[in-house]
């Protein structure tokens, strides 16, 4: 059976079904991270004045800045992979997807180095409330990166065969995974200042 509205827009919503699906999913993700941001505010207000800022001094700002720039770059390469398909340039699509995956891998390697340094200095989630929420937020964000990488890899290699049979549907799939990827970037844009700089 053919799945309806994978390419055509539904008359009532004005968008194809997958796009509605991903936006609803992202709305639930806003609430997931929103709950944790709320917990951050709660813990910060409950901590002694200036304690969160002081505890956060152990974090590596240059590495986190580099990671922010890497993630922004990955958003750029992600959107370019979608544009490449719109221009019927499959080779460029492959290149930009590879670059997006490379950026994601670099992000995770840097995060690993950061975590290793913390553990080496005996800093754990149990150290204080700042590190409890730091590890929770960055850990959950990292899991989102890994999840995104799995989907990106699938669409980069085995799933890209769909380009030969259903190019429009494949282009939409790239748009959908792109929306998820940009959301993960957007979350980091807020995590970076509240955890590393404030």
């Amino acid at each position: 059976m053919e799945i309806p509205y994978t390419v055509d827009e539904r008359p009532d919503t004005g968008i194809y079904n997958a796009k509605l699906g991903i936006w609803l999913f992202l709305a639930s993700e806003v609430m997931l991270f929103g709950g944790l941001f709320s917990a951050y505010v709660f813990l910060r207000l409950g901590a002694p004045v200036g304690a969160f800022h002081e505890w956060g001094q152990e974090l590596n700002v240059p590495l986190a800045t580099l990671n922010t720039l890497i993630l922004i770059s990955s958003s750029m390469t992600m959107v370019m992979s979608w544009v490449s398909l719109k221009m019927n340039d499959f080779k460029k699509f492959k290149l930009y997807m590879a670059l997006t995956l490379l950026c994601a891998l670099c992000f995770l390697v840097i995060k690993y180095l950061e975590y290793s340094a913390k553990i080496h200095h005996h800093i754990y989630p149990s150290t204080n409330t700042f590190y409890a929420i730091y590890f929770t937020l960055t850990g959950l964000h990292g899991l989102h990166i890994i999840g995104g990488m799995v989907v990106l890899f699938y669409l980069w290699v085995p799933g890209s065969n769909m380009w030969n049979t259903k190019p429009e549907q494949f282009t939409n799939r790239i748009e959908i995974v792109g929306l998820y990827w940009h959301f993960v970037d957007l979350v980091w844009i807020f995590l970076f200042p509240i955890l590393y700089l404030l």
């Binding site: 936006w23 207000l45 404030l198």
Partner: protein
Amino acid sequence: MSSGHDADIQSHIKIYMIVFASLAVLTIVTVAASYLNLTSGESIFLALVIASVKGSLVACFFMHLISEKAFITWILMLTAGFFFILMFIPMASFIDQAQIR
């Protein structure tokens, strides 16, 4: 592919490049601002304003919200409403505790 379609895509690429450069510059500005001699409240305000501008750029241009259908906008406005309620809960608790003291 028509030349009109081509020109349209090229103009989109130009916008993506500008957004990317803006995001990179704003990241550096965020870090630089954290070294300014500001009060805690001022630092938080400035950092959140810059993050909000960066977030809006990503949402509007990379996620195409600027040209998205109204249906999506409504879903997101509803989500934003619940998000702000979530943000308000710890504040309300804090104010309540301050009154008890």
